[in-house]
Symmetry: C2
Subunit: 110 residues, 2 copies
């Protein structure tokens, strides 16, 4: 999803976080949003995104709703109740990770 290996593991959290802010989004929209929000730093590939969305749905964290716009399919995803709860946990974990690594790299500021 990017040139750096560091993003490995954070895709699910990124998706969930976006869906707390946007109610419903479709796959392509997510890729564009992430690119915009990170100023091009983070590029989500389709090969990573779509399987991730399917998995989150299978886990009961997302619901799907198919719409046809301009004769093109869109699969809108939104958080389930469980998904909303789980997102809180994932964001906490991410915050912890960032804090830990921040302190590790820059101990003086801790």
């Amino acid at each position: 999803m990017s040139n750096s290996k560091l993003y490995k593991g954070s895709l699910n959290t990124i998706i969930l976080k976006l869906l707390t802010e946007n109610d419903k989004m479709y796959g392509y929209e997510i890729t564009q949003k992430v690119k915009a929000l990170t100023k091009g730093e983070l590029h989500i590939t389709e090969g990573a995104l779509y399987p991730a969305l399917h998995k989150l749905e299978a886990e009961g964290l997302l619901d799907v709703e198919i719409q046809k716009v301009d004769n093109r399919l869109r699969k809108y995803y939104k958080l389930t109740d469980q998904g909303a709860k789980e997102t809180v946990n994932r964001l906490d974990e991410l915050a912890d990770y960032i804090k830990t690594m921040q302190a590790f790299v820059n101990p003086k500021l801790a």
Copy 2:
């Protein structure tokens, strides 16, 4: 290397960073140091660590020196010149990642 998937990809950078501060370290010492520095948050498994060290050595970023202490083997690793240079890059990448994710999770503070 931890309960969170987020650490995936950061092990090499962690090793390199430690070796900029300690001149030479052996595997077991690294696991203990990381545990201490992160207050138990990050636990490096041996199954991840030793192959990582071997790979960094194969890439020419680390040099090895074997010593026998108390009748036990220790393989001391230290940064090569190339390793020292590469560490700077890896730490920059890590800093970028942290910055990007920080901004993503907490846009208000950006």
